[in-house]
């Protein structure tokens, strides 16, 4: 029951946030500082998801060169910087990760 309640609540909140300005209120009725704060939401939230995914995949911090996810992520960041699409990120990132995992397994 609690799970269904959570599903309903998550669904309702994602819809209300998406519909906020498109359906309900004119964004120009909000103060400038509020709209400016909104522009920093995507870089902040996305970085807070990406960074732990690269250096904390197993729950402990690993900033070493033997962390394949960190290297693969950096390769994907460079690739996306030059070729701005999701294919570049996924192809280079997964390719690098698989290559490094294979290499590390052979070296071990």
């Amino acid at each position: 029951m609690s799970t269904w309640l959570a599903i309903a609540g998550v669904s309702l909140s994602t819809f209300l946030l998406r519909a906020s300005f498109i359906v309900f209120v004119d964004p120009h009725r909000f103060p400038h500082w509020f709209r400016q704060a909104l522009t920093f939401v995507p870089p902040s939230v996305l970085a807070a998801i990406v960074v732990p995914g690269l250096v904390m995949a197993n729950g402990t911090l690993d900033l070493s060169a033997s962390n394949p996810r960190l290297i693969a992520g950096l390769v994907a960041i460079v690739a996306t910087f030059h070729v701005r699409n999701a294919t570049a990120a996924i192809a280079t990132g997964m390719g690098t990760l698989w290559l490094l995992q294979w290499l590390f397994a052979r070296l071990a």
């Binding site: 998406r18 300005f21 909000f30 400016q36 704060a37 807070a48 990120a89």
Partner: protein, 215 residues
């Protein structure tokens, strides 16, 4: 459209696997996806449901990671203001990081604006259908995919593809670096609170830098 789908399929698959791994029934996993249609919200909700969090905590965490929709909604609202309420509600429901990115690029182009919402609808619906299909496959077949494929990393890569173009100014970059740093320092907090604290820290730093620049 094809590159976007290439990112969607493994991501949806991972979201489907995560829902079932969290202890949700297949019906619950699919319902969460059909009604919320947000990979990040689905993954965060799954993580919290897995540790038996109270529903209110799960909803609050999904709300915070979905705050970026507020910014998307504000940016796209002027371009949809001429449509009736049902159209606006439908396009809101279908809006994702990916469809926002492609719609805002299209709306910013010069030329006649009529009919652009049909393009938005077409690309968003394509994404919706392929997303739900990937989630269903993840829900049904998830347990049989070897962990050595590291498919969960495709999710991080999808967010890298969104993060890089979102960093356009020095203030954006500072916000991202601070948020990333705080997310590591606060990693021990329960209920994925690190994400909340890190996001607020990043936003605050971005605004402080922007305010200094203007002075």
């Amino acid at each position: 459209m094809a590159p976007v789908l290439l990112g969607t399929v493994p991501f949806g698959f991972v979201a489907g696997v995560a829902a079932v791994a969290a202890g949700m029934s297949p019906a619950q996993g699919i319902a969460l996806s059909v009604f919320s249609f947000s990979g990040i919200a689905q993954l965060v909700a799954s993580q919290l449901i897995a540790v038996h969090s109270p529903a209110i905590v799960t909803v609050a965490a999904a709300f915070v990671v979905s705050l970026r929709f507020l910014m998307y909604s504000a940016a796209i609202a002027p371009h949809l203001a001429h449509l009736d309420r049902r159209w606006r509600a439908l396009l809101s429901f279908l809006m994702t990081d990916q469809s926002f990115a492609s719609a805002i690029a299209r709306f910013s182009q010069p030329g006649p604006g009529a009919g652009r919402h049909w393009h938005f609808l077409g690309s968003a619906l394509t994404l919706y259908v392929s997303w739900q299909a990937s989630v269903v496959i993840g829900v049904v077949a998830g347990a049989s995919v070897p962990a050595s494929w590291s498919l969960d990393f495709a999710v991080v890569l999808t967010f890298i593809a969104l993060l890089v173009p979102a960093v356009r100014t020095r203030a954006d970059l500072a916000a991202a670096i601070i948020a990333g740093g705080i997310s590591l320092m606060a990693a021990g907090l329960p209920y994925r609170l690190a994400l909340v604290v890190a996001s607020i820290g990043g936003i605050a730093v971005g605004m402080a830098i922007e305010a200094r620049r203007r002075r």
